[in-house]
Amino acid sequence: MSAPIQKSGAKTRAETQVVTANRLDDGVVVYLDPKGGWTPRLDHAAPLSGPAALAAGLDAGKRAEAQQIVVESYAIDVAREPAGLRPLRLREQIRAFGPTILPDPSAAAGA
């Protein structure tokens, strides 16, 4: 069973965060990976636990902004699940996994 959606305005942070941003040249959602690079795959993101790791991750985000790699970096709460990392907020789940509804090809075919 996946973690429940996090309440907005939650005062306590989850145990694990990842740093996310949008890639500058194409806007794609990306995550900071363990090697300091940026990946569009949440399951390749670096899980950050504890204030020191989080601060280092956020610093890496700011550096990547200054280097014109990403825009608007920030940290999000995630849960570690058997299937991988899962954002706790619905907004971040949609950013990670895409719109919940996509165009239905059968509609275009007049089915």
């Binding site: 040249d25 806007g27 907004r91 895409g98 919940t100 509804i101 239905d104």
Partner: protein, 553 residues
Amino acid sequence: MYRYDEFDHGFVKARTAQFRDQVERRLSGELTEEQFKPLRLMNGVYLQLHAYMLRVSVPYGTLSSPQMRMLAHIARTYDRGYGHFTTRQNIQFNWPALKDIPAILDDLASVEMHALQSSGNCIRNVTADHFAGAAADEVADPRPYAEILRQWSSVHPEFSYLPRKFKLALIGADEDRAAIQFHDIGLQLKRDATGALGFTVYVGGGQGRTPMIAHKVRDFLPEQDLLAYVEAIMRVYNLNGRRDNKYKARIKILVHETGAEEITRQIEAEFQEVLKTDILRLPDEEIRRIAAYFAPPALPERPARSSALEAARADSRDFADFVDRNVTPHKTAGYGLVTISLKPVGGIPGDATDAQMEAVADLAERYSQSEIRVSHEQNLVLPHVALDDLPALYAGLREAGLADGNAGLVTDIICCPGLDYCALANARSIPVAQDLSRRFGAPERQKEIGELKIKISGCINACGHHHAGHIGLLGVDRKGEEVYQITLGGSGDENAAVGALIGPGFSIADVGGAVETVVDTYLKLREGPQESFLAAVRRVGQKPFKEALYGAA
């Protein structure tokens, strides 16, 4: 249609070159995001949840076939094969890469389109009745005046940094199909007793977190004074509109806080100042010059009654239903306006694939003088179709998956992109629209319910026009849970009204059932099929609906 002259071509080309340079400087690091953001917004480029979003202006909702083909090309080449037509008669592309946007703008410029002033605190795309220039009930075509306003407001130096965004809408008939009373300025074109053209002027309407119906400030403004009067309104707003609080910065708040009588006095006083120079008095020859671009097409004479249409109606129930719902009387006998619904049952309101856009462009070329309109209700319109051609057009629309005969019915839902795309949204709206569309999708049920406008917004900014919905849904975030508030009795027509909240909201799992309860209650209490949902709500009030939803108090 209006055609660019040398100045227009040069202007759009120069702006595209300017933005190409700005993008290059952003990608190279010469510009920071903070410096670049206002520049990209001036060119219609947002950063949304998943990607950049480009909003392309469709002035007063009028498109040609070549322009629609270019939109299809952009969707196919630079995006994910679809576009989203909006409640401002624009189109949004949800997935373009920033590095590709200058090329997209070049492509748009090649068909006389751009994305300027589709964002920012300026005068936005001027909208108009989507049936303009063709409807049987029209006094005169409002689009020449919309075009004059577009030209006057484009990079207007005095009005490029307003307290907040500013929206104008025009109609030329008594039936308001452009929701003008929900705009910052609404203009109704009409004739006075002498037959002269002029405008009834409304000011201070809007939706968002503080919905307001506009006040009438002028019953009849002669057409030659249009720019002088609008300039006067803009000056009063620009000078006195609040800049200390963005939530109180729209002109509706200024009108509300100042009072309609006083604001009218201020506008009239400023108008007299503007008139002193005579610069903004529109010369008659200039009005006629612009109007000539919108001259009605030379439609071949046709019999008022089409035997081909009658035969096809007798043959196919689906076709007959389509004609009943989606064909509107034209000012020329033997012709009709055809609404192409972008609301297939279970589909995404306002979305069209590149193949569908191509199909519409082809069908418009064949059957509608190459003219297409975008409606603020997120549908497309072919404005000049011979009744004899309706069976063939219908067959073409069926092939493209665009033949839903549901215009104005319960599944013809307006819906913003919501949390599935939008960085501002608090809740999803598309899945709610899809759920409702499926619940009410059976043709017999839709027909039984009759006219009913459901409008859904995923946040208080109200891009989905929920305040004007006969049934309005507003998605909010309640401690991490999507909750939908229901309003009843709103309307964006000539009897404009803001819907009233009926009670506590519903979860995303329950909101579809709640709307069904509201509709079932209406069906039980209406005086007959001739009494629409809106008429019934106005007659009985909220009580029976509230009892059905929450139980008797």
